[in-house]
Amino acid sequence: MGKRSNEPFLWMLFSAGGVAAALLIPIHLFLFGLAFPLGWLEAPGYDTLLALARHPVTRLYLFVLCSLGLFHWAHRFRYTLYDGLQIKHLNEIINTLCYGGAILGTVVAAYLILRIP
């Protein structure tokens, strides 16, 4: 019945991304996207943040969070395009767009995170 698909691998990335996004993104987005800009909480200073960000564990953490988040998006967005817009016949373009985007994003993330002084 055809070749064994590579869906398990993609699904694994999607699931891991889903867990990471559910557990961690809400607090990140709340702090940096809402609480600090609106002044509900006092934002940490530049030096503090830089010290935190350059720590190897933080670098790894940020890389994993960004990369898994992108693969989570790629999987879901691909199926939303298939089903929501009924364009499954364009699957090759959609797959390239979604997973290509996630791979590109991962590379950019790696570059930016490594570049932190």
Partner: protein, 248 residues
Amino acid sequence: MAEAITLEVTRYHPERDEEPSLQSDEVPLRKEWVVLDALNYVKDKVDGTLSFRWSCRMGICGSCGMMVNGAPKLTCATFLSDYAPGPVRIAPLDNFPVIRDLVVDISDFLIKLSRAKPWLIRKREKPLSEGEYLQTADELDTYKQFSMCINCMLCYAACPVYGLDPLFSGPAAIALAQRYNLDSRDEGSNQRLDILSHSDGIWGCTFVGECTEVCPKNVDPAGAIQQYKLTATKEWMKSFLMPWGGGE
């Protein structure tokens, strides 16, 4: 309670109609009547040309699934009075080709069911003289829920993935495959792996979850599919890490 209620029944006749249309019929509204009783009233007293399937009228044969006010239901287990004052819209199950009126073509499901190998597979059959395969109540409980499927097709009618992609194996067929996979007496899960982990199998499912919501027998096909995704991923990792012998 009102004396009567209006049914708006979808009619379609392939010998005559290009498209389905609606027919309105007034039927008595009795508190003990289910939607199926109302349809039988129309067929017996008003219009003998109305076509639909039914048989046991006790929710176990799975014949009488239809869309009632847009939701898939067993019409023998859906009370008319719950829809008062009406009108009640009755249409054939979504996602299936309509043969006539409320009758849909489910032959596609039977092909998919067969492919999922829904029978007990053993490496060695035990002779009858050696008695039964022992199975504890807990082992029975592991697959029992998935064995309750009556093939009523409500889950297929609720599944947008099946509606959009008729190649998708669909909820009931996968749940029944999983019923045998989880049976302590079965040794055939490897034989079912290829068909289930094919791209038309479990991976098509986006976990809308409506199959489980509409199931009249609490089978939870959505759960079966998600659980099988986990299993298939484990098997994939095994074959990836141990390409020489992850097969058994």
